[in-house]
């Protein structure tokens, strides 16, 4: 039994080898999904930019379906399962509750994904990520979707059982470490998400197979978004968890004592309260739902869902501030200027937070009953979720793999400078993409629509041209990430030397214990961003609405 463990040369944590193999396998599937989704992104992104790469609508919608499913479902969930296992085993010095069950989850997810990929790429399921009925895909498409969800559910159960056994056997003492706690919050939300997803997909499957003759579309829309948007909060919580990990890993552990864990845990716990009441922001302009429901769930509920994310913004920025202040940078913003911007982890943390913050800011008018009239189903919406999910979650996941892959495989990252370049390239690309898509959405350009040349309104051409630049930069960044990962996994230099393993990744910040902990600078930054800028945009939307024809 003892031979199944190794001690991590860097952190001193125990690593169970059979569990480690499961984690790496899940991670490899995440990379493969990202590669497929990335290939699809070439066609989707460049077809929506001024290049209009694809002229054939059928292939555009096929690639769009592939892009949505591979990015939003497969890449992210494979990664998250790997992350859940990692936080419950390595961090807790424990083996997986059952390695066999974890492999079972792996196989079920793999089969589900394979079925979907085959159907999508043979053009039998071009119904996009949302798959709204009465539009029908091949019945096996829904079966594949359900299988994948079932696999994830098994993985989540293995995660909880692993924590349970680790606690019972005393492999760790005291409360759950913060990042395991964050992962557990993500897993709890995942259970509610899988429930909503299973109900929706089983119902659509019954309809497609003819077991039920009519389908209640209002029911589907509500439950689908219990799955569709809830899943984004699994991503958001996993992302915040990764942010804390990045802050601590990149500073060589120095930031650990400057994160207020009570505050962070309070913010994590709030997510579980606010996710389900916020489903309604997807049905704000659907007929049939009452205005009271739209306002309570869609608007008010959704605004409160942004509270935990706002709290984490201060916790993380403040954690960095307090660390840098303890290292001697005491001015109001000196800590930010002197922050290790050339460290891939810190760079990714800050870039990811900026993009996610911007995505959250633009979401507020869009989730509000009246302004939503102007933004619903325009490119404003993909701008929001590319900023939050690609800019926030994906960029953070990419960065944390620069740290965890060397530790798990004991192979040195091939080039940390390329990793840093990848982070900034991705930030630039996503920022340009986000801003131009917001611009297009503001002008009414529809989402999920192949705008052939004669369908483009004249005022849309300028932002579409700039969008091209953003798409190309982000594609280059994504390709660079896959290249670095593949090269590290296959040809990274094998080493157990701690200094060599983390070369270029860790910025040793020498902190002194004395001095007051202040987060003043961070408070000013988050206040200006979220109080001043967010509310300005919010009220601007109401003023803009007033200038349009009367509607009621």
């Amino acid at each position: 039994m003892a031979s199944e463990f190794r001690t991590c040369p860097v952190t001193g944590l125990l690593c169970h080898l059979p569990s480690q193999r499961v984690i790496i396998a899940n991670f490899a599937m995440a990379l493969i999904s990202l590669a497929i989704g990335g290939l699809a992104a070439v066609f989707v992104g460049l077809s929506r930019s001024s290049i209009i790469l694809l002229k054939d609508p059928a292939s555009y919608y096929m690639w769009l379906t592939a892009h949505g499913l591979n990015m939003l479902i497969f890449w992210i969930l494979w990664f998250e399962v790997a992350l859940l296992y990692f936080t419950a085993t390595v961090i807790l010095n424990a083996p997986l509750y059952s390695v066999r069950l974890a492999w079972l989850a792996f196989v079920v997810m793999l089969v589900g994904q394979a079925v979907i990929e085959v159907l999508v790429f043979t053009g039998k399921a071009s119904v996009l990520f949302t798959a709204y009925p009465p539009l029908k895909a091949h019945p096996l498409f829904y079966v594949g979707y359900l299988l994948f969800a079932a696999g994830v559910l098994v993985a989540v159960v293995v995660f909880f059982l692993t924590i349970y056994r680790a606690r019972r056997e005393g492999t760790f003492k005291g409360p759950l470490p913060l990042i395991t706690f964050g992962a557990a919050i993500a897993a709890i939300i995942a259970v509610t998400v899988i429930f909503h997803g299973a109900v929706t997909l089983a119902y659509i499957l019954a309809y497609v197979l003819g077991y039920v003759n009519t389908i209640n579309i209002m029911f589907i829309r509500w439950y689908f978004w219990g799955f569709g948007h809830g899943a984004q909060y699994v991503n958001a919580v996993a992302m915040v968890t990764v942010w804390y990990a990045l802050l601590v890993l990149a500073t060589g552990g120095a930031a650990e004592k400057f994160i207020n864990e009570k505050y962070a845990r309070f913010a994590f716990a709030l997510y579980t309260l606010f996710v389900i009441p916020a489903i309604g922001h997807h049905i704000l302009v659907d007929p049939g739902y009452s205005e009271a429901l739209k306002q309570a769930s869609g608007s008010v509920g959704s605004h409160f869902l942004s509270v935990p994310s706002m709290l984490h913004a201060l916790a993380l920025l403040g954690g960095l501030e307090a660390t840098m202040r303890a290292a001697g940078y005491r001015g109001l913003f000196t800590w930010l200027v002197k922050a290790p911007w050339r460290n891939p982890g810190i760079a990714a943390l800050l870039m990811s937070m900026i993009l996610f913050g911007l995505g959250g800011i633009v979401a507020q008018p869009q989730t509000t009953l009246q302004p939503n009239l102007m933004y619903h189903n325009t490119l404003w919406v993909p701008a929001h979720f590319h900023l939050t999910v690609a800019g926030g979650t994906t960029l953070a996941f990419m960065a944390v793999s620069y740290y965890l892959v060397p530790l798990l495989t004991l192979r040195k990252l091939v080039n940390y400078k390329l990793a840093l370049l990848q982070v900034y390239l991705g930030f630039a690309g996503l920022l340009i993409m986000g801003l131009t898509m917001l611009w297009l959405g503001y002008l009414g350009a529809p989402r999920r629509t192949l705008l052939l040349e004669n369908l483009v309104r004249p005022e849309w051409w300028t932002p579409m041209s700039i969008l091209t630049i953003g798409v190309l930069l982000w594609l280059a960044s994504g390709a660079l990430y896959l290249l670095i990962m593949a090269a590290t996994l296959v040809a990274g230099k094998r080493t157990s030397n701690p200094g060599e393993l983390v070369e270029g990744l860790v910025e040793e910040v020498k902190t002194s214990e004395t001095g007051e902990v202040s987060k003043r600078g961070s408070l000013i930054i988050v206040f200006i961003l979220l109080f001043v800028i967010m509310l300005s945009l919010y009220f601007h939307s109401f003023i803009r609405l007033e200038g349009m024809p009367e509607i009621w």
């Binding site: 609508p57 470490p177 930031a255 007929p287 306002q295 916790a315 979220l530 109080f531």
Partner: protein, 172 residues
Amino acid sequence: MVLRPREDWFKPFIREERLWVATAFVIAFIMGFTTVSWSFVDPRHQVPTEAYEVSPEEWVKRAQEFAEKYSGKVVPEGTEVVIAGVQFSWIPQEIKLKAGVEYRIAVSSGDVIHGFSLIGDDGTVYNLMVMPGMAYVMKIKFDKPGVYEIRCNEYCGVGHQFMVGRIVVVEG
């Protein structure tokens, strides 16, 4: 600790943290209060609330009758405008309305889910969902003459992008 368990994580919030928790809730409250009170501030810039059930087949029939009756003519005041979204066109393709007059425009689908996006040369953008089995009624008043495109913005199949209709607003 973040990576390793530690007993002494339970620290009280410092001043900045207390202040920010309060501020975050205040921000959410301001936005929630604004949207709810806006229903009273300006009841004429709101999401339409009226909807009624109707079968998709029946709706397409009504839209076709409407299209024949008012083809090339200005729809008179007090007439309900009937629009059906079908794969892949709008029935009717073009509608003429008078400026300064209140109209009831009812929109529903003959098959799958569509999106009703009204895009004006004056910068107007309004978006509503078009559902089969449910007619969505918006009351609308155009102030000035102008051209408004109707585009489908919910994916409805391979010809989705070709669903482009027009509302032409003429002097009242």
